[in-house]
């Protein structure tokens, strides 16, 4: 069985950035971090394992929106190697 690793870049904004104390990170994921295709939801679940704060911010009551390569996407959107992913609360500009 062939093992493929994925490299992605993640950005965090607003309340997430502040609470997680992370603005951006480069992440390498091994095949067994996600079964089959990596999705926004799977990536959230993976990051949520880091500790309680991550769990609360990404899988808790807070509504978290995801973007892949600067496009808003839903939880089932697939993430590919080299993608730029972002997590943030619902937007409040204007």
């Amino acid at each position: 069985m062939q093992m493929t690793n994925m490299n992605i870049k993640i950005f965090y904004f607003a309340r997430l950035k502040e609470t997680l104390k992370f603005s951006t990170e480069d992440l390498e994921l091994a095949d067994d971090d996600f079964a089959g295709t990596l999705t926004i939801l799977k990536l959230k679940a993976h990051l949520a394992k880091r500790n309680d704060t991550w769990q609360q911010m990404l899988m808790g009551k807070l509504k978290v929106r995801g973007a892949i390569n600067h496009e808003l996407v839903d939880d089932n959107a697939p993430i590919a190697d080299g993608d730029e992913v972002a997590f943030f609360p619902p937007v409040t500009g204007g």
Binding site: F13, R15, G93, G94
Partner: protein
């Protein structure tokens, strides 16, 4: 079509004037200015900070304006949105749309604002007497956006 994200203030009068003078077949220019209120959810606001997602912000605003141009018969549209730290009465956003007739310009301008409010990656944090707080998204902004979905 122009989209700008900037920390510095803008001269709304000048921007609107340039837009309306760009073509001699323009009959209508509708514009919207959003500014910092000194009151939000009943509390006095002394300062507002706007964060955004550089790169995605511009792309998102351009996509919204393109969608408006494909839906209505408008000539041009301009969006300027500020980021950084602002005070009450400071301008936040300008949207201006030109067209031959007023109906299309009104619809396109309001559409751009409704989509900007729900899709463009900006986040507001305000300073009140109770300290700093992130502003929560409003459900009626989602409703406003839904009106445009056919």
């Amino acid at each position: 079509m122009t989209v700008r994200v900037q920390t510095q203030d803008f001269d709304a009068g000048l921007e609107i004037s340039q837009l309306r003078n760009a073509r001699k077949d323009i009959g209508a220019v509708v514009s919207f200015i959003g500014q910092v209120r000194d009151l939000n959810e009943g509390d006095a606001v002394s300062q507002l900070t706007l964060e955004h997602y550089p790169g995605m912000t511009e792309k998102s605003l351009e996509a919204i304006v393109s969608q408006a141009k494909s839906r209505w018969n408008i000539f041009d549209a301009l969006v300027i949105h500020r980021v950084g730290t602002l005070q009450p009465l400071d301008q936040i956003v300008l949207v201006a749309v030109s067209s031959a007739h007023r109906g299309e310009a009104f619809k396109a301008c309001e559409f751009i604002m409704d989509y900007l409010k729900t899709e463009a990656p900006f986040w507001k944090k305000e300073v009140t007497n109770f300290g700093e707080r992130w502003i929560d998204a409003k459900l009626n902004d989602d409703d406003a956006r839904e009106r445009w979905v056919k």
